[in-house]
């Protein structure tokens, strides 16, 4: 009825929103890999930035290191003519790898896939992914013993994939 009531309502709504967002971030940060293993992590797959994906998928981990991960992209490696199917191979000498994620920063949802490994799985991993047209960064992130390791590769795609 009167403006004060409306503005109050707005404020309450705002508070509620930020509180629930915080709660989401907190719970995703606290999720252990074991819990996530049971279902499809939709918050990580629908996230729209690389940071949000990592927060949702990798939880709290120590600072990212730019070593320890190697990967090969496409054949030939630099120019990719067909973004519908790009071969990616990931290798690493790290021990006790818990998780490997593949991301493309310019895809509508950056997270492409996430591998959850047991001690019985060895690198390299190889798969095929879609990448949108234009210049993107392909990112491989590994979580091992509570630490994150990241490698980035610039790729240019002529015919984009429907990622």
């Amino acid at each position: 009825m009167t403006p004060p009531i409306h503005s109050q309502r707005r404020a309450v709504l705002k508070q509620f929103l930020s509180a629930s967002t915080l709660a989401m971030v907190a719970s995703s940060g606290l999720l252990l890999p074991q819990c996530v293993l049971a279902h499809w992590p939709s918050d990580a797959f629908t996230a729209e930035t690389v940071e949000d994906v990592l927060l949702a998928l990798m939880g709290q981990a120590e600072a990212i290191e730019e070593t320890g991960v190697k990967f090969t992209v496409g054949k030939p490696t630099k120019l990719i003519t067909d973004g519908q199917s790009v071969t990616v191979e990931i290798a690493s000498e790290l021990a006790n790898i818990e998780r490997v994620a593949i991301l493309v920063d310019n895809n509508p949802n950056p997270l492409v896939m996430s591998f959850e490994l047991t001690d019985n799985v060895m690198m390299p991993l190889k798969t095929r992914i879609k990448i949108v047209a234009g210049e993107s960064q392909l990112i491989a992130v590994i979580r091992a013993e509570g630490k994150l390791y990241k490698t980035t590769r610039d790729v240019r795609v002529y015919a984009g994939g429907n990622a």
Binding site: L37, W40, P41, F45, Q84, S85, V86, V104, N107, P108, N109, L111, V112, M113, S114, F115, E116, L117, T118, D119, N120, V121, M122, M123, P124, L125, K126, T127, R128, I129, K130, I131, G161, N162, A163
Partner: protein, 107 residues
């Protein structure tokens, strides 16, 4: 199309490890596919979300996929050790609940 297509799996014993290669037949539609004649999307999302691999009944690997996984998903990975006769099983589930299983014995 036209050809009979089905999921395929190969397990090969190497020195100290077993190489697994899997090819699944699936459209992996993101829902962003477009008909060249119109701007309307021609598909709704239909993609594999979860792939798991077991060796002799013990889970080895789980892969969570988004729609940016290429059509007819292909994976290769290595299992530590292994011997002839090991049973390798791969099971997939997509976002609308369809599923499939492929099995092979290591030779």
């Amino acid at each position: 199309m036209g050809m009979l297509q089905h999921d395929r799996i190969r397990a090969t014993l190497r020195e100290g490890h077993t190489e697994i290669r899997v090819l699944l037949i699936h459209p992996m539609a993101s829902g962003r596919e477009q008909n060249k004649m119109s701007v309307e999307a021609v598909s709704s999302p239909h993609f594999i979300q979860d792939i798991r691999c077991w060796r002799n009944g013990e889970q080895m690997l789980a892969v969570k996929c988004g729609p940016a996984t290429a059509e007819n998903p292909y994976f290769s990975f290595q299992l530590v050790g292994g011997e002839s006769g090991d049973k390798i099983k791969v099971r997939w589930v997509d976002n609308i609940g369809q599923k499939g299983i492929v099995e092979v014995k290591v030779n």
